[in-house]
Symmetry: C2
Subunit: 339 residues, 2 copies
């Protein structure tokens, strides 16, 4: 049957403009202190807010009945779960602007497995690293599975593991990251859900690819209108947010040559020294530095980045793109280009 | 440690000869009559036999202690599960010939979701089909997750969804199926675990890609020494195996131009008429016709195909490649080229 296979079509055209890339931070959606534990409340809230942000009607009661797309059997379900196929078939359109991409961190999934084995350092000749690679992928893909399920309460979400997509690194820097399947999925009306993953590395054999690096790469490829990082604190602070004197940085400007400056609050204006920028004390995957650096790269492309706390009115506004530098009542950090 | 690591090999060449591609049939590893129910005994047995077949020592007590690569927390586990990292690190090599690829069917996973919504017929403009696509993928990837976990008791398994790999069809025929990530994974010593999946279709929008089609495509690309289909009956019969008069076809020969003939048993020799070939009454994904047709395409490449019952001494021998047309005591069907 090989002869019947058609040549693949050129698949690299970008879909209609992507509205938003969302990072569901590991600190927000998992309980960091507890191995493989999901923060159900935050996850449910983030998914509901995303659905709200996608809703074209923008009304409060946008959809009276949420379209459930996880038809798996739950414990206690009858053998044949109830799926109201006729009702679903009667819905003309989903009524959602699904041009979103979701990327999530690992939080308390994968971290234990990766650190116990040293997957990020590479070296697959070591049995421990090889076993840890397998264990890490099992853990992060099980989280991905649960997040896709949670999103599927109304959102046509499809899980896509960077490892399976063929993404790989060279000395921890993204080397191969074909996004054609992400384009296709968006074009077909699905919301791709990627995640931080264990991947192959051309020099080190393997390493960990963080969700923040994935976000930056996708922002470069997809040019979304804005990027949202949902985390467990209100945004970027001038010192660890656990410090009672910590000040939330409301607006950071980045320039073309790698510089950055604080625009708001005014008391820290222009101050780039003595400020120990901090996002989330507990978000260790990639760490705050990675997050800020990747966010700055995105902002330099002219794409506004909003960092805010999951499950708040501020995260809903961020997901809707309803934030401006004049929004005094919005709590979070805007990182944008100085141009 | 980076400096200690060797240069990566060129990664797009096919790996050293793949030994075997294994299909874990949906009928064998799930309870077909019960929605989303795994046949734990058959799955455990298939995984143990695979590990045995990969074992280089070929001894009975090959590994005294199985190297567990699923370090996830199980219900009832302490917060920090016990992983004997020092013991693992002390193992010089895994001692396995991991040049295997595993593909599994969906069985009682995905089938309900796909048939309720008509995903295989395509048409993503329909909300029902779109929701069904999401529901089907959630179901089949959750099965993949459990199979990867089961294999990870000793085998460095990595899940790879065809959808995420970017595999797509054109009018249900495989159109794009890049296998470079499968090559890379094999080269790195991992066992890729693929599955029947919902995929995008260039003409129909979407459809179902069966595990049997995946097997055939991978056999063409990887030229394994042999291919094994594990199912819930002893092999291919001349009529439904539920019929008490059904005769097991021990050896089928296929020629270059699409013909086939029964070699054993002798009483059916040359008989291709009046024989209603049947594999497994309950294996509806792709159906028996797809399975036989795909197996015949593989055999025509000069690759022997063994179809046998999971969890038996015969399946272990098939996985080891310890089967020949002279093996009178082996119960199963051999499909091979007449050349």
């Amino acid at each position: 049957m090989a002869e019947e296979m058609a040549q693949a079509q050129p698949r690299l055209t970008a879909p209609r403009s992507v509205r938003c890339i969302v990072k569901l931070g590991g600190a927000a959606i998992t309980n960091k202190g507890e191995l493989e534990s999901i923060n159900e409340e935050n996850l449910r809230s983030a998914c509901a807010q995303l659905r709200h942000a996608m809703s074209e009607s923008d009304g409060d009661g946008a959809m009276e009945k949420v379209l459930g797309m996880d038809w798996s059997r739950k414990p206690g379900d009858p053998v044949d779960p109830a799926v109201d196929a006729e009702w679903i078939a009667g819905i003309a359109r989903l009524g959602l602007d699904t041009n979103f991409v979701v990327v999530h961190g690992a939080g308390s999934f994968g971290h234990f497995q990766a650190s116990r084995s040293g997957v990020h350092k590479g070296g697959l000749h070591s049995t421990l690293v090889k076993a840890g690679f397998v264990a890490t992928r099992i853990s992060v893909t099980s989280l991905n599975q649960e997040i896709v399920r949670a999103l599927a309460r109304g959102i046509p979400s499809v899980g896509m593991s960077p490892f399976a997509c063929g993404w790989s690194t060279q000395q921890r820097k993204l080397a191969s990251a074909n996004a054609s399947q992400i384009f296709q999925s968006l074009h077909a009306g699905f919301v791709p859900v990627l995640h931080g993953d264990a991947v192959l590395d051309e020099l080190l054999d393997c390493t960990i690819l963080s969700g923040d690096v994935i976000i930056r790469h996708l922002a470069q490829l997809l040019s979304p209108k804005y990027v949202v990082f949902l985390t467990d604190v209100h945004g970027v602070y001038d010192r660890p947010p656990t410090d009672s004197n910590a000040v939330l940085l409301r607006e950071i400007e980045v320039d073309d040559i790698g510089g950055w400056s604080i625009v708001k609050p005014a008391l820290l204006q222009g101050n780039t020294k003595g400020v120990e920028i901090s996002v989330a004390a507990h978000d260790t995957t990639g760490g705050m530095e990675t997050k800020i650096l990747e966010a700055a790269v995105i902002a330099r492309l002219g794409i506004d980045v909003y960092i805010t706390k999951a499950g708040t009115e501020h995260s809903l506004r961020a997901l809707k793109g309803d934030v401006s530098t004049d929004s005094e009542d919005w709590l979070g950090t805007i990182i944008r280009s100085s141009k």
